[in-house]
């Protein structure tokens, strides 16, 4: 039984090592996703605010045209045409007009959200599930290593049983079997649940 417990212990230790390796892999994948997410957030913010900068200039010319349109002076007619022309040019070349709201404002949040969704289709941007998986794998490692203690206690009982020549050895054997089964139950439960 000592040999059997040793072999079972080695098997559990092997599963614990695999769980530990899985935890490291999940952490790595999570960090890759975190890098992707931050890269996407930075690129999206920079691009969106470049567009918003162009929109700001557009707005100035557009509003200047609107104000000029309210005036009756002849030079204002020319100013109006020039200002609106510039606004139109900026709108077509320097920012995507589809983020212009009907009231003339620019929806930066929509642009940021759409860009994020676009990136999300191409890359993994969610580190959380990976980190949760890593934590779970670590818990599994910990519990399996805990099961090894139970097998070690069983080993101790079996060794004691071998060393004793009176009837107490049967108690030790029973203890050894008891702890072996507890260890196996723990192992099975951990494997089944995690």
């Amino acid at each position: 039984m000592i040999a059997v417990v040793t072999v079972i212990g080695a098997g559990v230790a092997c599963r614990a090592a695999i769980a530990s390796s899985n935890a490291s892999d999940a952490d790595f994948n999570g960090l890759v996703a975190a890098i992707n997410a931050e890269e996407a957030a930075i690129v999206n913010a920079v691009t969106t605010y470049q567009h918003y900068h162009a929109y700001t200039t557009y707005l100035r010319y557009n509003e200047l045209g609107n104000i000029a349109a309210e005036e009756t002076l002849p030079e204002m007619a020319r100013l109006k045409r020039e200002a609106w022309g510039l606004a139109l040019g900026l709108q077509y070349s320097f920012f995507p007009p589809r983020y212009l709201n009907p009231d003339g404002t620019y929806d930066t949040q929509r642009e940021l959200d759409e860009s994020w969704a676009e990136q999300e289709q191409q890359k993994d941007l969610q580190p959380e599930p990976h980190f949760a998986a890593a934590d779970l794998a670590r818990l599994k490692t910990s519990l399996l290593t805990g099961a090894l203690i139970v097998f070690a206690v069983a080993f101790w009982f079996f060794t004691l049983a071998q060393a004793i020549n009176n009837r107490l050895k049967y108690l030790m054997v029973t203890g050894g079997f008891g702890f072996t089964f507890i260890g196996l139950f723990m192992f099975g439960l951990v494997e089944a649940l995690l």
Binding site: S20, V46, Y52, D135
Partner: protein, 565 residues
Amino acid sequence: MESTTANPPEDRFKNLVAVLLAIVTVLIAIVTYLQSDAGSRDDAANRDTKRYTLEAFGKQVSGDSRVNFDYNSAYQAYYELDLLAEAARNVGDEAAAQRYTALRDNMTELSPMLKPPYFDPATDQLNVAKYEADTYLVEITALRERFVAAQGVKDAWDSKANTYIVHLTLLAVSLFLYGLAVTISGRTTRWIFSGVGTVVAVVATGWAAAVFLQPVEDLRACQTTDGIAAIDAYAQGVGLAYQNELEQGIASFDKALACEPNYVNALVERGNANMARGNYEAAIADFEKARAAGNNNASVAGDLAWAYYLLGRFDQATNMNRQALQSDPNELWIQYDLGLSLLAAGKTDEAKTEYQAGMDLAAKQVAAAKAAGQETSSGLWWGLEDAANGLDDLLTVIETGEGQPARDKLSNPEAMSAAATELSTRLKSLAVALEYTGQPPAGTLTATIGPFTFAQTVLNDNGEVVDYAPADSFPYGTDEVAVLFDYEGMQDGQEVLFKVYVDGEEDPSWRVAEPWSLGASGAAEKLISFAYSNTQVLRPGVYTVELYVNSHFAQSGNFVVEGVE
């Protein structure tokens, strides 16, 4: 009943060793569990450090990008249109002014920064610091603190995990000794082996228990009485101090420190806030606690030394500056502060030696940068300017009794005054020479520049200057001040530099460097003027004008532009 004593001694010994082997196996299993657990926590904390760094970096760049747009696009558009409206109003074009004003007001929709609580359109007061703090500064400060805390946790669990490996090794040695004991036939020798094995196992077990009982403190878990994390309270404090809301900032730091009294960064930041409030005793207490809690940063030691200096505790300032320089000998500002504290203590010769060491170091750093084809750190120029300012402030204390340290704390102010003037002049000349030539100033000043007279220009109907109205103080709205001076011994082609400081800080937009072309002697005029614009006036403050000839400090003078009544 059978008895174990019926067995021969050989068997009894082997049985005993077998039981001991089994016990050590159980211990190995337990320590393996502890090692595995510590390793897992180490890995988790390590992962957190990387994650916090990434997030802080990303939010910093995104936040900067956002604030850059808000300030440099949205607010700039508002500001430009506001100036255009004012310019139109100044020339009597009310219709244009109204158009620009309407256009300007439309710009406020572009950014939350142009709305309350960040912007007050009635006064045109913009609180960029509050906007930055709310947008990203507090958040990234908290992330950085979590990074530091996670790093500490990682190190602690890493150390535990590594120590458990030592315990496992010792237990393996114990197993080895037991194994040897059962193979050896000599009675005494096998008892020695098994005895040593037992001692090793007991030591390893006791040591492992001690390591297990050692707590790992995680600042991230520390909660204030308000239920917020100490780190978040600290980050809020940093945000408030950044907005110059020092009292509220200190209250936030207090909350963080109530949770963790040895929170080093909170102690340092509270010390900085207390310094900014002029509460030097409290600042000293904070900096000293920070150092006692393990902060060996040269900058904190330098700040502590500065607080000692301001309170007239010159010997402590000197010692602390020396300690700071041991941590980082290249910190120029600390080197100059060391000279200043010695000077204030009346140790003029020692002070001059330390200032000279600082000037040599500055020249060496500039030469090294030039040789490597690189630019010098901006901190070097700041350090030189700060050193000269420190001496000028000391001179003000000696002359007027106003400022810190208190005049009655100074030893032999007369001798000190002469040395401070000489050192300030040398530092200023060195800064200019290093910046423009990369070398310390060569030769000596041969020209004589008379004292500056400041005056408002008096114009005739054609806008020509017909006279000057000298004054030391000018009302708000002044858009031009003439600097008048006599000179002798000048040579055409000499490099002349004018620098203008407002409230002790140079305004580089006024800096003029040009070759001299007005002959050997005579009277000269230099205009500080916004008269070409119909919107700008000189902002209120104390203006200091300095003149350098071939990098040698030649003359300086002050005037005041008064504030709005």
